[in-house]
Amino acid sequence: MPPKPSGALRPVTITAVVDPVAALASGDLDENLYLYDTNRTAGSSGFGTPELRTRVRKGDRLLWNVIPLECETFVALSGIEIDRRVADPVREFYPGTDIAFWTATVKRELVKPVTYRLSFLLGGVAEPFTVAAEQALVGPVKEAR
């Protein structure tokens, strides 16, 4: 597949939209979590659900961030459980803020989907909430012969 015009310089961003008040009141994070990424035209699927499948290539930079539905309410991505041989996410902060995002580089070409799991801190609760469903990184579509 030919690279996008903006090249491999721009990271593939995976955004988690969360309703933290609904998640805390119902005790159900999955019901109140909507995932998206910037690779829709490259073949990502599962938009708007917790089962996002992001299409990636070896060498792609990944960036995970969070948008809360109630703009004043605290939500943060506290962890990403993924095979470290595929990607090793590290947490960073937008410079000068305490708002976190996570970045990683895809270390190899993916032949099969690689699943991962996100965990979030919601409101003032000290224990992170982990998504029940699995997210995934998927490799390039095989060319038809």
């Binding site: 721009r10 961003t13 998206y36 910037t38 539905l69 937008y94 410079p95």
Partner: protein, 259 residues
């Protein structure tokens, strides 16, 4: 008192600019699924507006809608709006300090400071709402010479709200806030007349900004697009919580609790 309703419009700016449409590139949310909104996270959100009226028929609560646009793949809207401007100022201050320390003829060092300072872009006349002339990338750092490829998408700007919901005077949208795009910016809010239940669509006019490389440098070009959403207005009578109907006596016990 009824809550205010927040509606978030998340736009896949990269694809919207490539395809020149918001169809399939805009995801809508509100926080009222539990009151009856449908289509959360899709392009087909219908926002519930649960009105109430008193027994004399007068509208009992003011329902207020607030819209927050956001770019997918950009620095999230939770990062303070003045952040981008402060980042630009801070990098300028840092670069000035470094320049003062650099010796004469040290071209490599001056070149490095130029990278640190980043690039600025001009704003074309019809572009609205660019928070700073200095370009940042998606991690909030100042973009270097590859700014045209890595630039952080500015937040989409709502320029108007039209359509049946407005024409039929169901909602009254207006812009609020200061015109200072760096610190507060305009935001759109609307009050809703809940006396006429039904489903009413509305059209959101959104301006995206594309960074274009021209001979005279980088320029922000505005791109005007539209997308639609809808309100479902309902109204129900207020009722006394103790009696289920009208005003009555408080249900105190015959004898008070022991102190």
């Amino acid at each position: 008192m009824a809550q205010q309703h927040g509606i978030i419009v998340l736009i896949d700016v990269d694809n919207a600019l490539q395809e020149r449409t918001l169809d399939g590139n805009a995801y809508w949310f509100d926080n009222m699924k539990f009151l009856g909104s449908t289509g959360e996270g899709t392009g087909g959100l219908v926002t519930i507006v649960p009105g109430a009226y008193f027994l004399d028929g007068s509208q009992a609560t003011e329902q207020v809608l607030n819209w927050l646009p956001a770019s997918l793949g950009a620095v999230p809207p939770t990062v303070p709006r003045n952040y981008l401007a402060e980042q630009a100022l801070q990098t300028d201050r840092d670069a000035l300090a470094h320049l003062a320390a650099v010796g004469a003829g040290d071209e490599a060092e001056v070149g490095r400071i130029k990278e640190e300072v980043g690039v600025r872009a001009k704003q074309s006349r019809s572009a609205k709402g660019i928070p700073t002339a200095k370009i940042l990338d998606a991690t909030g750092h100042v973009a270097g010479s590859d700014a045209a490829d890595t630039y952080n998408y500015p937040t989409p700007v709502i320029t108007d709200i039209t359509g049946p919901a407005v024409e039929q005077k169901i909602m009254y949208p207006a812009q609020y806030g200061s015109p200072d795009m760096i610190y507060d910016g305009w935001y759109w809010a609307a009050t809703v007349d809940t006396s006429r239940p039904g489903i009413y669509s509305y059209t959101m006019h959104i301006q995206l900004h594309e960074l274009v490389e021209r001979e005279d440098g980088l320029v922000w070009q505005p791109v005007d697009l539209t997308c639609t959403s809808a309100l479902e207005v309902m109204t129900d009578p207020k009722r006394n919580a103790f009696t289920g109907a009208g005003l009555g006596v408080l249900p105190l016990p015959e004898f008070p609790p022991v102190p």
